[in-house]
Symmetry: C2
Subunit: 573 residues, 2 copies
Amino acid sequence: MKPDMTRYFPILTWGREYNRFALSSDLVAALIVTIMLIPQSLAYALLAGLPPEAGLYASIAPIMLYAVFGTSRALAVGPVAVVSLMTAAALSNIVEQGTMGYAVAALSLAALSGVILLVMGLFRLGFVANFLSHPVIAGFITASGIIIAASQLKHILGINAEGHNLLSLTLSLVEHLSETNWITALIGILATGFLFWVRKGLKPLLMRLGLGGGLTDVLVKTGPVAIVVATTAAVWVLGLADKGVKIVGEVPQSLPPLTLPSFSPALLGQLIVPAFLISIIGFVESISVAQTLAAKKRQRIDPDQELIGLGAANIGAALTGGFPVTGGFSRSVVNFDAGAETPAAGAFTAVGLAIAALALTPLIFFLPKATLAATIIVAVLSLVDFSILRRSWTYSKADFTAVLATILLTLALGVEAGVSAGVGLSVLLHLYKSSKPHIAEVGQVPGTEHYRNILRHDVITDPAVVSLRVDESLYFANARYLEDKIQNRVAGDKAVRHVILQCSAINEIDLSALESLEAINDRLREMGVQLHLSEVKGPVMDRLKRAHFLSELTGKVYLSQFEAAQDLLKCPN
Amino acid sequence: MKPDMTRYFPILTWGREYNRFALSSDLVAALIVTIMLIPQSLAYALLAGLPPEAGLYASIAPIMLYAVFGTSRALAVGPVAVVSLMTAAALSNIVEQGTMGYAVAALSLAALSGVILLVMGLFRLGFVANFLSHPVIAGFITASGIIIAASQLKHILGINAEGHNLLSLTLSLVEHLSETNWITALIGILATGFLFWVRKGLKPLLMRLGLGGGLTDVLVKTGPVAIVVATTAAVWVLGLADKGVKIVGEVPQSLPPLTLPSFSPALLGQLIVPAFLISIIGFVESISVAQTLAAKKRQRIDPDQELIGLGAANIGAALTGGFPVTGGFSRSVVNFDAGAETPAAGAFTAVGLAIAALALTPLIFFLPKATLAATIIVAVLSLVDFSILRRSWTYSKADFTAVLATILLTLALGVEAGVSAGVGLSVLLHLYKSSKPHIAEVGQVPGTEHYRNILRHDVITDPAVVSLRVDESLYFANARYLEDKIQNRVAGDKAVRHVILQCSAINEIDLSALESLEAINDRLREMGVQLHLSEVKGPVMDRLKRAHFLSELTGKVYLSQFEAAQDLLKCPN
């Protein structure tokens, strides 16, 4: 019973070893992360189309639940940019932003996503996430970053604009451009400029002044707090809210409320696909951060338990006024760099944010939305990385196609269509590649027992013996290709008496391929040609023995290609 | 220019060599096939829900066009059972059977299918058909056979019944069972019994009487003609049509008419998916017959040119009052066995059928529909073969799952849903299998240079060196699995200093897997562990050289696993 409990409750493992050193490290990390998270949480709530306090709430219960169930020691869970964008995209199709129904639908989306993650974790279905290939993720993140940045321009300019893909957003922005509030635009552009300078200019400056890399990074991450304080003060002192600068306004002073998502079947039906995509993408983002940080301390991450941890966190978000959450890259890195030793650091962060929600919300009454938009823009533009296009072009045209399609379709059609198309395309390209495997005709390298491609090497061959090496597992998608290849090779060449299939690279033969081999065997028999196999792997041979094929095979199965060729050359029929 | 012409017009090749011997062989074959095709064509038109003459028309122009464009010397093109059933299923959802619109929609379906085949042929997309795995096809054909047989019971009993899956058909049959016309039922049951006897009883009898196998087969195939003649005569002489026996009735005495399919976008939109499925399934059936027959004479089949030939045949069907056609199994085998030497036999068959359409149609006025239904039932029940379930169960549970799902879904939901689900499922199962590849930790077989699984063999290992052999190409679906495996193996074992990946079974590394290898390399470096590769294949190495990975690799790339282990044991760091 006990090992099972620690599997599902990792807190039992690290909680038992908790000590004063870990406590002090965790408290320092929590303080730094809390300061960083306040503006970030507010901003991502804005991005998701929700009131700012939802961002704080979404960071409190989820982070605590993850501390109980998660396996990463440093992962910080809460709202992240891409998931917030996907939340806004999913909900805007269903309910109008700003209505009560919108906030309730956000709870339902988090609940649904939590249940999906939990079920995947309990049934160990984490492998589903593997179908999101790296190029698709890279393309998707880049395109999402562009859409998110574009979607925040309306706040920077103080205008209204709608849209969930680049085209509709751009058109809407251009349409409303004349309504720009110039004071808002000034704040927005200054804030954006300042934040970029903090990243690009301040960091090298501090490094040159002799500060350590870790401390510099932490200071740079608190840049948003400085601009929040500065712009809030400016709006308050100069009374800019009366001049049309949109501000955050009244935010309830409260701990996260207990909330109940709607479980109306119609709503859940509309949310199920977005919830699934949000779950998978959130999981992929989270697990890769967790793995990277765990490796630095030689710790283990259990992907299936991570699903359970993220599932619990999302259900927590649904019950406490939040929206879908996952493990975030930047917050987790800050947490790790600031010295977090255990998930307790997360719990302390949650306490810090709860205090902020209770006590500090009056202070952000005059916080301009343009400032929050600026923090979002600067954060997401660091995600935009077109180098994946160049890298994939150099490495593989199939991967390049998948990246390009994902980027273009995400920009053109929005996040859901983009990522779905990317996954579908990468699966199709993979199947296409393996449907036309490399089949080399091989011959003996003189004086050795090695056999190599006759087109690339100077090798010995015999007109009566054709040796073919298939560089791919045989399965339904390439079985008939092999039939065609062999038929074409042998049909016109009357000298051929033996065909040897060198099976050293064949890891599997499925039933379709087995039936193709039977057909090849039958057809070669009709032509008076024998079929032989060489170098069949153990597991493949085990399986072939369960079928009739070996008893019907006109030729033999040889341990090595050399042995096969020797035997057939000795006794030509 | 010339070789291109013979590629697209195979008739130029065989036509040039045509001689008196081929002519007489082809004429004999054509006579036999014509006699066999008359009842079969009428029956399949009935199955497709069309007037009987459509079956004759669908065998005339298509067979001639295939003779010009097709590469098989013996393939006989025309209506076949499964495609006729799919035609009925596709059209019944859109227009009412028996109306003019139904016949026009059948033309559109044939035209659409022809265009799809032609485009696939011209762009060499024949590999798409490979995604229909053998188990899925076997399951689909079996389930279709059952549905077809069930759909003909209404003609046997002389009642009305509707439905395109087993459940709805059965319910409808039971509902109308009390309306059974007993004279029709008598004719239907006698005809069915006679045809079964011809197959099971007459054939052994003739063989025992000393007739050759080929001649026996031909005689057996003409059984349907005998029962057509007998029952038509009975109905005519005894005046059974007046007693409620449904007969074929008046069939126009005419050559195939020139017809124009409807190109209404709404109709084409509804037909595009069925047309695609019909094209693919028809192509798969046709190509496997063609390959089997070609092998017997050591001839070549060009799959892409076959697509063009079948495409032309279907367009021909659309323009001459037919419906979708393909190369049929039984008619092609009869053609081959009867001695057809070239596609000219097909052209002569077309002439024979044209004469039948012109002159013989008054003779089938009194032909009972029950007789045609009986010929269909006996033909399709020979397609029903549940042994695929047993075979796939023994060989591979994944293949078994795909077969079972295809059979059950086809029976439950109909042909389109069944085959689509089967294809989807077999792709998913394939991806699932390759997403969890076999990864063996290997050690040295004492006294040799061979490395084998440490779990299966008594081998030498070193605590500082972990050697892993991955038995699968690395791509996005299994890249993260490898990351997890390596992290789990190394994270808890502080003694490990080197990880060697033996790449002998890796035929491809895609960009996702490359980035996973980079992540593995980075994480191992954090743990103070070096990553090495051994036995990387040429094409994989070529590609790796285009990326940065090799320069970042903490360890080396070795030609053999033995060399790698020797080197690392000599100089431990």
